[in-house]
């Protein structure tokens, strides 16, 4: 699943009320705040309303928490794996 990484780089102070409301609905409150949203048409439309104020990147990987364990391997296999990377 792909995500938009949206950062508010310009504040909406002094801009029309609806601009602020769009930012609020995206979850952006302060400048340099970052939010993640799945790539979808409604999020794209919201970004288009505030395109002058934000910086957008597409994130391909789903963020996963650290599993808290690791699987032991033979040292040869581990070495070759690291070499391959």
């Amino acid at each position: 699943m792909n995500f938009f990484r949206i950062t508010l780089t310009r504040s909406a102070i002094g801009l029309p009320r609806r601009t602020t409301d769009v930012l609020k609905s995206l979850g952006l409150k302060k400048r340099m705040g970052t939010v993640f949203h799945p790539v979808s048409q409604d999020i794209a439309g919201k970004i288009m309303r505030v395109k002058e104020l934000v910086e957008v990147r597409e994130i391909h990987l789903e963020r996963k928490p650290d599993p808290g364990y690791y699987v032991e391997k033979r040292s040869t296999a581990e070495f070759l794996e690291q070499r391959g990377q």
Partner: protein, 107 residues
């Protein structure tokens, strides 16, 4: 120290320079490119899912990119009250945060 000058002394006298400076122009180009880039990113992300949005399609149909714009359109805007119908873009309220790229038909 108070230094008497017309803007400080004369109450409501705000001075906006007639010309836009070259660093201001450079920053304006940078902002135009930044907006282009946001639209491209969003459009590419949607296209990867086989989707599109009306607002993005309209933007691509109607708005020129920074590289395609004439200097006249980058740094000045139409104003019916102005001589020769053009004024510098930094007279536009909130000009660093609005997209102003095209002219009315015939201008």
């Amino acid at each position: 120290m108070f230094k008497p000058s017309s803007p400080l002394f004369g109450g409501l006298l705000w001075k906006t320079p007639w010309r836009i400076s070259s660093p201001q122009k450079a920053r304006q180009r940078k902002r135009l490119r930044a907006v282009d880039q946001v639209v491209d990113t969003v459009s590419a992300a949607l296209a990867r899912q086989g989707q599109s949005t009306k607002s993005i399609n309209r933007w691509y149909d109607e708005m020129p990119r920074e590289q395609e714009m004439l200097p006249k359109d980058k740094y000045t805007i139409f104003d019916k009250k102005e001589r020769r119908y053009r004024k510098s873009i930094h007279k536009l309220p909130k000009w660093t945060r609005v997209s102003q790229r095209v002219n009315p038909p015939g201008f």
